[in-house]
């Protein structure tokens, strides 16, 4: 088993899913790092969320990813965190040392991951890629910064991965379904790539795709939320990764086939929704390369009803701070929220609920609303009267 794998299961020659997960939070050559500060630091600092985010994604994939036609066969994990910690496989309980996310290691891991995608000569394998850490985007070019960014004074991007070229190069893989999640915090000016003339390492150079296997289906999900603050949350994944996991857990699912399944289009809706919510809360967006293609295919089958974000509020807004809000459903104890000014956010299993606004001071009438909860989310405004 290669040094990057933290999960591996045999699939007996059947089509399979192979994942590569990278989280970079410790940057020795950026501000606050243990090494020499690079001249190209552009104000970038250490990040706490990326290793946590990457671990959560790896754990989720191992524990929950269910797609019977292409079951999960491998997860490769590379991290940069201080101090380094092993990864505990949630399926087996085994501990694995985690390789450092340096340029050389990431290049090797990518080659091994591509090779797994090539194992099925008929092009049926699926490849998943996830990155969280610093990133720089200029037009169509995007550099994902790795642990050793800035180590080489003459070429700081030697410690970076050229994501655009990676995505292009992976069209040479026989695995024709490839999904990319890029959760890159951009906190620099836009001139580094232009100035250096490239955007980092190119482990797989672009070239002619294999013929006769059909077109590549390759959605890319970019985080568009700006700012280092979002990636400095203590003990928590980044907002994009949280949105991604909520989406995979069910907010990005639909039951058109009778059971609940997450597909690429529904997942995009869920992620876009949470991005818009962050925007409403004052977040800023960054430019990213265009998502130049999105075809619809299934990613994950849920084994139970999806859990869906629900936002309960009162109309008029003034009533919000006075209302005791309750959520009632058959067979479950009710939940309630004491009077508060902000919208009540819940995560509920898809189904039918009754929402109630009660006013102990009699300022408004007790009001009840019945609502069905289903993905992507549900807003429940309770219009209360005097």
């Amino acid at each position: 088993m290669d040094q990057f794998l933290v999960h591996h299961s045999k699939t007996e020659g059947l089509p399979a899913t192979h994942a590569l997960v990278i989280g970079v939070g410790a940057y020795p050559h950026l501000n606050g790092g243990a090494g020499t500060l690079t001249g190209d630091h552009e104000g970038m600092e250490q990040l706490t969320s990326p290793p946590i985010s990457a671990r959560r994604v790896a754990e989720w994939l191992i524990r929950w990813l269910t797609y019977p036609a292409k079951p999960l066969a491998s997860v490769s994990l590379l991290l940069s965190e201080e101090p380094p910690q092993p990864f505990t496989n949630p399926a087996t309980g085994a501990d694995y040392p985690v390789a450092l996310a340096t340029g050389a290691n990431v290049s090797d891991a990518i080659e091994a991951w591509k090779a797994r995608g090539d194992e099925d000569a008929d092009g049926r394998n699926r490849l998943l890629f996830y990155f969280c850490g610093h990133g720089i985007s200029e037009g169509t070019a995007m550099a994902l910064l790795l642990r050793d960014f800035g180590e080489n004074d003459n070429n700081s991007l030697h410690g970076a991965l050229d994501f655009g070229q990676l995505h292009l190069g992976m069209d040479r893989s026989k695995g024709r379904q490839q999904v990319f999640f890029v959760d890159a915090c951009r906190a620099t000016s836009d001139t580094l790539i232009q100035g250096l003339g490239h955007a980092g390492r190119v482990p797989i150079r672009p070239g002619r795709p294999p013929v006769g296997l059909g077109g590549r289906e390759t959605p890319i999900y970019y985080s568009t939320l700006a700012g280092q603050e979002a990636y400095g949350r203590t003990g928590a994944p980044s907002p994009f990764t949280e949105a991604l996991l909520v989406g995979l857990d069910g907010a990005g699912s639909d039951d058109a086939e009778g059971d609940w399944r997450v597909d690429t289009t529904q997942l995009k809706k869920a992620i876009d929704f949470f991005t818009n919510k962050a925007l409403e809360a004052g977040a800023q967006l960054v430019q990213v390369p265009a998502n130049g293609a999105l075809s619809t295919f299934e990613l994950h089958h849920l084994s139970c009803q999806p859990r869906v974000p629900v936002y309960v509020s009162c109309k008029p807004e003034e009533a919000q701070a006075l209302a005791l809000l309750r959520c009632i459903t058959q067979g479950q104890p009710p939940t309630e929220r004491l009077p508060a000014g902000e919208v009540w956010e819940l995560r509920l299993t898809a189904g039918q609920y009754q929402f109630r606004a009660e006013f102990s001071d009699g300022s408004y009438r007790l009001t009840t609303v019945d609502a069905w909860v289903r993905p992507v989310y549900r807003r429940v405004p309770i219009e209360v009267g005097l």
Binding site: T140, L168, D190, R208, T224, A256, D272, A290
Partner: protein
């Protein structure tokens, strides 16, 4: 069975409402038994947008439904409805910051009123200058195949490296005119409304009647080149479509730091929201809007740029071999040799569906042809062009040079915009 009528209520101020076959997409989910489990579990329809249009009607069993409408701006609005007899539903969305920003809000270029109002920057000490570039130099403005269009790449790269104060004179054959006055604005945004004949509120020199049109947006730090999507005739009426150009100073929605954001959208009742979904990357959703337009796409002589927009949606979405629209893509590329985007789409399709090396050779040839046609109208075209040339860059020196030339321009492109917007120069 009974009928459920749906429409999205939104003031699109200054333009006509969007008809049912080209408004927004809505998905109707059955919530209650016994509807679930019957043939009606879920249906997707397109619904009109505006204040005065009728409703899209759907035959449904009596019962309870959840209507979900993913909008071009990325928002998803939902509404639950009990249908006991013929029922019309007005689906409401968040208010736009101003009435005159209704269209911009719908397509995602500004946030809703609530968020807009929380951003209260001080009035800037200077506002960007917007110049009409109606008579561009031939590599930029030329209509023609194998003409000076191929020189546009070195022109733009050279301009980017030059003194910002010289940009206009290097790109225009005519002297500058007085800066354009916005049609509307506040401390955060300026809105300009233009057709191929110039701004709606100002008379300008046009240059070649059939030449390309651009704007230059000059801030105290930056120069931005905006490719205007003309000629664009409204598909139903044949009239010149109005483009809305928004110059936004807030950086919240993807602006380059310290630079104004320039957003271009088209008020075409038939294709306006389709372009919005395309920009968002929602290709499968956009394809729903394309269905009623396929007949119009066949009549692409009326509006080849609209046909190109449809082409991006089709090529970027699900793509199986042997579909009829593949011929349309080839025809678009062959019939409009001034349109770089047609050749780019043809190349992309060859790459995606390659059955043998010959198909890949055809893709390569199409990309070289696209390079020679000049600057794509659509930002996605620029991305596909640079990506496509990268595949073949190691096969011959000329393709490698083409790739490098396009890459240097593509790095300056704002890919969150549907039409080509380039950050050219900095003070």
């Amino acid at each position: 069975m009974t009928t459920l009528g749906l429409r999205l209520v939104k003031n699109l101020f200054g333009g006509e409402d969007l008809p049912s076959d080209s408004g927004v997409v809505a998905i109707v989910h059955a919530l209650s038994e016994p509807n679930k489990g019957t043939y009606f579990r879920q249906q997707t329809v397109t619904i009109p947008v505006g204040l005065s249009r009728g409703y899209s009607e759907l035959d449904v069993p009596v019962g309870r439904y959840l209507v979900e409408a993913p909008l071009p701006n990325g928002d998803v609005v939902t509404q639950e409805v009990q249908v006991d007899g013929p029922t019309n539903v007005d689906i409401e969305t968040e208010d736009s910051p101003h009435e005159w920003l209704g269209w911009q809000h719908l397509v995602g270029n500004v946030t809703g009123r609530r968020t807009h109002e929380t951003q209260t920057p001080e009035a800037p000490s200077s506002v960007p200058t917007v110049l009409w570039l109606g008579d561009p130099v031939p590599p930029l403005g030329f209509y023609g195949f194998d003409g000076p269009g191929r020189d546009v790449w070195t022109l733009l790269d050279g301009v980017a490296a030059s003194d910002p104060s010289s940009v206009f004179s290097r790109l225009s054959q005519a002297p500058p005119e007085p800066p354009l006055a916005p049609s509307a604005g506040d401390t955060q945004v300026q809105l300009f409304r233009l057709t191929a004949h110039g701004p709606q509120n100002q008379v300008v020199e046009l240059g070649r009647f059939d030449g390309r049109r651009f704007l230059l947006v000059i801030d105290h730090r930056n120069v931005t080149l905006v490719a205007l999507p003309f000629p664009w005739h409204e598909t139903r009426s044949g009239q010149d479509a109005v483009a809305e150009v928004l110059v936004r100073r807030d950086e919240q929605q993807g602006g380059w730091p310290d630079k104004p954001t320039v957003a271009v959208s088209l008020r075409d009742p038939q294709f306006g929201t389709l372009v919005g979904y395309l920009t968002q990357g929602a290709f499968p959703t956009a394809q729903r809007l394309l269905e009623p337009a396929r007949e119009m796409l066949r009549e692409k002589t009326l509006n080849p740029l609209a046909a190109a927009a449809g082409g991006y949606v089709l090529v970027g979405g699900d793509s199986e071999p042997g579909q009829q629209w593949h011929d349309w893509i080839a025809n678009l590329a062959n019939s409009f040799r001034w349109l770089p985007d047609g050749a780019i789409q043809r190349a992309r399709l060859h790459l995606q569906l390659a059955r043998d090396e010959k198909d890949l050779d055809l893709a390569h040839e199409s990309l070289r042809e696209a390079f020679g046609r000049g600057l794509p109208y659509f930002g996605l075209g620029l991305q596909w062009l640079v990506d496509g040339l990268a595949v073949f860059a190691e096969e011959d020196v000329e393709t490698a040079h083409m790739h490098d030339a396009v890459r240097r321009v593509a790095q300056r492109c704002n890919l969150q915009q549907p039409f080509t917007v380039l950050r050219l120069s900095e003070f």
